[in-house]
């Protein structure tokens, strides 16, 4: 280092030169500490899930429990069999799939006229949808539960899904996407005699595929992880519960087995993590990334 500073005596930044590597090291150290805070629970859970429990080790024996000496996949098989994890996994898939399909369909249908047509009441409807963003929702879950009961949907997957699919986020996201499509394209299609439904399905939807994908991905993650609402709707039908609700039941079982719980948790986390890794940029740019 001294050789380099001697070689460039005229550099203004010379007094700072020793600071830079220190600063960089400090920066990475800080990043590392936050990294541990953010991911430690996952690392530990993964370690527990992979631990061979027949070796009789405790999950609390630090630091050995973070680096299991005997690794096995048996816990995954065990939790799948003893807890009928497949059933809950399937429930999660059904609820998430229906919610995503419903959200895409309802949002795209609603967004199209809001983006492209002039009709009486348009301003009012627009205002009402904006309003849902700021209205207090503290008592919504009470009345919605009663409504579902009256409709005979309490304790069903449809009951979990229906109240969540129409929302301002999806409608505005799709409206923004439709607005970006040149009007000339639509005029041309209309002159060719295409119906509005054809225009929507043949032109608008294919051209807004990135936004549809974004909405689908956000909805997938939110729905897969949702706890309170499915718990409430399905409290009388535990067999229909998704993983996010059921995984807490593992905890309360009489034969409490942390290795199985950890394995179940990893199974539940995996799909979301894969979706996230595949669509990282979408999440890390926030809403902006979804609109563009």
């Amino acid at each position: 280092m001294s050789a380099r500073t001697a070689a460039a005596p005229a550099r203004v930044a010379r007094p700072v030169s020793w600071r830079r590597p220190v600063n960089t090291a400090l920066r990475y150290a800080l990043l590392g500490v936050i990294l541990i805070f953010a991911v430690f629970p996952f690392v530990w859970t993964l370690a527990i899930a992979l631990t061979d429990k027949t070796a009789g080790s405790s999950i609390y024996a630090f630091p050995q429990s973070l680096l299991p000496s005997r690794v096995t996949l048996h816990n995954f098989v065990d939790v799948y069999r003893t807890f009928s994890l497949g059933k809950y996994l399937w429930n999660s898939v059904v609820i998430t799939g229906l919610t995503v399909l419903g959200t895409l369909l309802v949002s795209a249908l609603a967004a199209y006229p809001l983006a492209r047509f002039r009709f009486p009441g348009r301003g009012v409807i627009f205002g009402l949808i904006v309003l849902t963003l700021v209205l207090p929702g503290e008592t919504t879950f009470i009345v919605n539960t009663l409504t579902l009961k009256n409709l005979g949907l309490l304790g069903t997957h449809a009951g979990v899904v229906l109240p969540t699919i129409a929302g301002a986020f999806g409608i505005f996201l799709m409206r923004q996407a439709f607005l970006a499509i040149p009007a000339a394209l639509l005029e041309a299609a209309r002159l060719d005699g295409a119906s509005e439904l054809t225009i929507l399905t043949r032109i608008m939807l294919p051209l807004t595929r990135p936004s549809l994908a974004a909405l689908g991905i956000f909805t997938t993650v939110t729905t897969w992880n949702a706890y309170f609402w499915p718990m409430l709707v399905l409290s009388g039908a535990p067999d229909k519960a998704p993983l996010a609700v059921a995984v807490l039941k593992l905890k309360g079982q009489f034969n409490y087995d942390p290795f199985n719980i950890a394995a179940g948790s990893i199974i539940m986390m995996l799909p979301v993590l894969l979706v996230f890794l595949a669509a990282q940029r979408l999440f890390l740019r926030g809403m902006e990334g979804a609109v563009k």
Binding site: A38, W44, S58, F62, A110, Y112, F117, T139, I165, L284
Partner: protein
């Protein structure tokens, strides 16, 4: 003219599914829920198909006179302490990851993973951390801050459970706000930062004198979001402590939920009234937020 008529019909046909769902599951519960707050309406009445009965302000007297609700509301207001911590930390982390240094994408992604973690998984994992034998106590022992005899389960402690739950909220939130702040930071012209460096401003001064003032709109938005979320905290509590020990983590929405769906008879009237009180407090806090940031802007 005929084209217009057809276009309107078409528009409403397309809008119908969304409008019906919003009407039934968003607007109706809002209005009907507000009405229920002024009525007597129990699980038994509902089951027997009897309509709610108007009782005026009686439910509000019940709610405000209930020591449990006052504890719950006080806890929810105390939970707002997470807001400044969360916002300052998220902004600082955003500044830290804003610079493109090797490997930074990995850190950004990793910090976001808690955001996409279900609250129930967070509960499973953090319970092990907070356990009497868990990581937190192990860490404190390693730092010679505590002894094995003095160890306790953090979620079972009347004094500490509240803060433990809050830490989980913090953990699940900081990556989310980091992303929002990161977007804001990228909109700040680089020249400003460079000018401050040339003027000899330290990183600390640059943060408080350049970054924070320029980020005010984003800070307002994030503070608003996180204030409302903190006041409405329910899920973390349900999965981690269920309000205990000794109601030390019992929050206002927990009260609403418990009145409506737990206990001997469900009391939708009182639950709705409690919900309205929480909504009113949320509204007040939002207004305060706006005033606070608006005033600072003029100063």
């Amino acid at each position: 003219m005929q084209v217009h008529w057809r276009q309107s019909l078409m528009s409403y046909t397309f809008l119908a599914p969304a409008l019906i769902l919003l009407a039934v599951f968003t607007f109706y519960p809002l209005l009907y829920g507000a009405y229920l707050g002024f009525t007597e309406y129990s699980g038994a009445r509902f089951a027997n198909h009897l309509p709610p009965q108007w009782v005026g302000l009686k439910n509000f007297e019940t709610v405000l006179g209930d020591p449990l609700f006052r504890t719950a509301l006080a806890n929810s207001v105390k939970y707002l302490l997470v807001v400044p911590a969360l916002q300052l930390a998220s902004l600082a982390v955003a500044v830290l990851v804003a610079k493109n240094i090797p490997g930074i994408a990995l850190f950004r992604a990793a910090y976001y993973v808690p955001v996409i973690t279900s609250v129930s998984l967070a509960a499973v994992m953090w319970e092990w951390v907070f356990n009497r034998e868990g990581t937190l106590n192990w860490l404190l022992r390693a730092l010679h801050l505590t002894t094995p005899e003095a160890a306790f389960g953090w979620l079972n402690s009347e004094q500490w459970a509240f803060w433990a739950v809050m830490l989980v909220t913090f953990w699940r939130g900081f990556g989310y706000y980091m992303v929002l702040y990161l977007a804001g930071l990228q909109a700040i012209p680089e020249e400003l930062e460079e000018a401050a460096i040339l003027d000899g401003a330290s990183a600390w001064q640059r943060f408080w004198r350049v970054t924070v003032p320029l980020m005010r709109p984003t800070i307002l938005l994030c503070t608003l979001l996180s204030t409302i979320a903190a006041l409405r905290v329910l899920e973390e509590v349900l999965v981690l402590t269920n309000g205990g020990p000794l109601n030390s983590t019992y929050t206002a929405l927990m009260y609403v939920y418990a009145k409506a769906f737990q206990g001997f008879d469900f009391d939708y009237g009182v639950a709705s009234a409690a919900g309205l009180v929480v909504a009113l407090v949320a509204l007040l806090l939002s207004a305060l937020n706006f005033r606070f940031f608006h005033r600072e802007e003029q100063a």
